[in-house]
Amino acid sequence: MAQLLAFQLGSEMYGLEVTHIQEVVESPPLYYIPRAPASLLGAINFHGSILPVLDLAACLGFGEKERDLRIIVLTPEEAQLALAVSAIVGIVSFAEEALLPGQEGQTLTACIRAVLPDRGEMINLLDLNRLLVSLDNF
């Protein structure tokens, strides 16, 4: 069984495999990044590393203003990046076989790798690769 961290973006539920996550940090101070796009909220000092915090909801086009103060720090193998989401929900266990393919088109714009049905709800599995490619565009 794999595990994912479920979180809310606007009214939708997203998830990211815990293997991609290094730590969830409790409301770290955010520092100003000059001339950063609006989707970068600032930078945090994570054990001496300087990580930008990406507002995932804004980045994926959810007009949500609500933000969880906790920040998700990705493992350094993925990227030197931290994510802010609308609300962190919790850990969900899942079997790889339970994943359904995302809808064509949606997978592109909304960075969804697959969809996991979970107790009547749908959890969109974040496509981290696609998200990082889109950041090339700053």
């Binding site: 000059p34 001339r35 930078a43 001496g48 592109l108 990082l132 950041l135 700053f138």
Partner: protein, 629 residues
Amino acid sequence: MDMSKYRDMFFSETQEHLHNMGRLLIDLEKNPADRDGIDSLFREAHSIKGMAASMGYQRTAELAHHLEDALDGFRAGGQIPVAAFDRLLAGIDLLEGLVDDLAAERPERDIAEFVDGGAPTEVFADLPAAPSAELSTPTVPVPAAEPEAASEETLRIVVELAYGAVAPAARALLMVRDLAGQGRLLNSVPDEQELLQGGAVQRLELRLKTSRPAATVKERLLAMPDVARVSCVVERPQPVRRDARERTVRVRTGLLDQFINLAGELISNRYMLQAAFAENRVQDLKLGLDQLTRLITDLHHQVLQVRMMPVASITGRLPRQVRDLERKTGKSVSLHIEGEEVEMDRAILEALADPLMHMVRNAIDHGIEAAGELVVSASREKDLVLIEVRDNGLGLDPEAIRRKAVERGLLSPAQARSTADRDLFQLICVPGFSTAAEVTETSGRGVGMDVVKSVVEQLGGTLQIISAAGAGTRIQLYLPLSVAIIQVLLVECEGKTVAIPLTRVLRTLEVTREEIRSSGRQKVVRLGDELVPLLSVRKILQLPHRPMSGSIPAVISEVRGRKVGLVVDRLVGQREVFVKSLSFPLDRLAGISGATTLGDGSIVFIIDPQTLLEEQAAGSKLRSAGGNP
């Protein structure tokens, strides 16, 4: 077995062997019967072959083996035939290409054409067959690479249509079809079917496989009506793997021993401090702290030492480059390299490699006449390293530069007369300023000198040009030994702090309202006999505007050789900081050269005023171009 550790070692060592091979070959060309030289060359090829074979890099091993065979034949014959040099050099180039492929995790490129003697001269063909039994892995035929055009890339394109465009779906459809004509359209959202149904389309996302450069595709789209914004980027197949290849340095074992000694001293220092604290001996505490300060300074010094590399690591390629240029231009150039043992921070050296080649190319193209001398030297001058490229050729003609500067409107005729030659020469570093009567195939003098200057300045260095008509040209780069620790000026705008490298600050001043004049629509301030434009850092950083009041703090900096005054809310002060380089995605932001952590743990980004201003200019140009339907 985890090979990644060995992979990095393979790359750094192979790189070194390839450099050596290039250098040895150039030396041998002058003295083709030098037995020791041929032996060394053979050993280098042999080492590459061995390493590549043990890593399982078949084609690299095969090619190295092929070169080794050829060299073995030459060794038996006592010398390298003149005709073989080009082919051997081509072989080294191909090896470099293979190593690039491996580093980028691409399949190794095809070598069959080269090995089979498809190159112009079949000089290896009639050589005695050398024993080939010692290759440790059998060379099995490798499947041919996909016949895909090498330069084809997948572009990710996002087009935003202007608000209020008439029949946007039809516009979008035309774009999709136009793009399909420029390559292979992998997908499009919305797709053609959806677009045919019409409706309010605002945004078009496509992936296009094409051999055209992204900029060309983008320009073409921007030229179409109703296009508000276009972004066009090359898709990286594995974006998260971009930094997978760890950089490595070789460290002298002596240096490591010093680290161990220092660690030992730090441990005894700790015991001393603990004991002094337990027994409340204030005098010993103070003594211990003094000792700790010294140890930390030592440690810092040693850590920086680890990053040092000899200048030879970038001058190694010059003999080869000069040889190629001699061929191309038909000139005869004798190259001397001095001070290759001088050490500098590897980051600085890596950044200098291209500018150095450029200066050498310039000197040969435009300085040296039919025959001449070129000296590249490195030397320590206190805390700086001086790198000089000196030729004994034509020299710069100050009068030609004066004329050109007036023609281009860079100087008024009066200014041109009063400017000293030394300052005048700096003008060849202005983008597009060229005094070459014609632009040669390789370069026009001045083309690219702007790049050289901006690299040097980004590293916190300075560039000087000394020349006289008929007496050659010397270009001098004064560079810091290390980039890791720099002096910055902290400034504040809208409660946000940013750092400006002190090397970019000429001076700071407080301007009163009365001192500010308006010239055109530009606010200026008089500084000596110069009018310096005032630019708002708030505006540059896209922060909310605030009317100026009272006395205004300004930082005088130089952008493209011109003084500018950067207006800030507050000058916070000067600090010595440890610069952290930025990794993806922060390294994608233009105008930020690094970041640092202050004593209280807060993060401050280091800005480069020149890049920021250029970005701003480029951005506004783009916006106005996109806004006009």
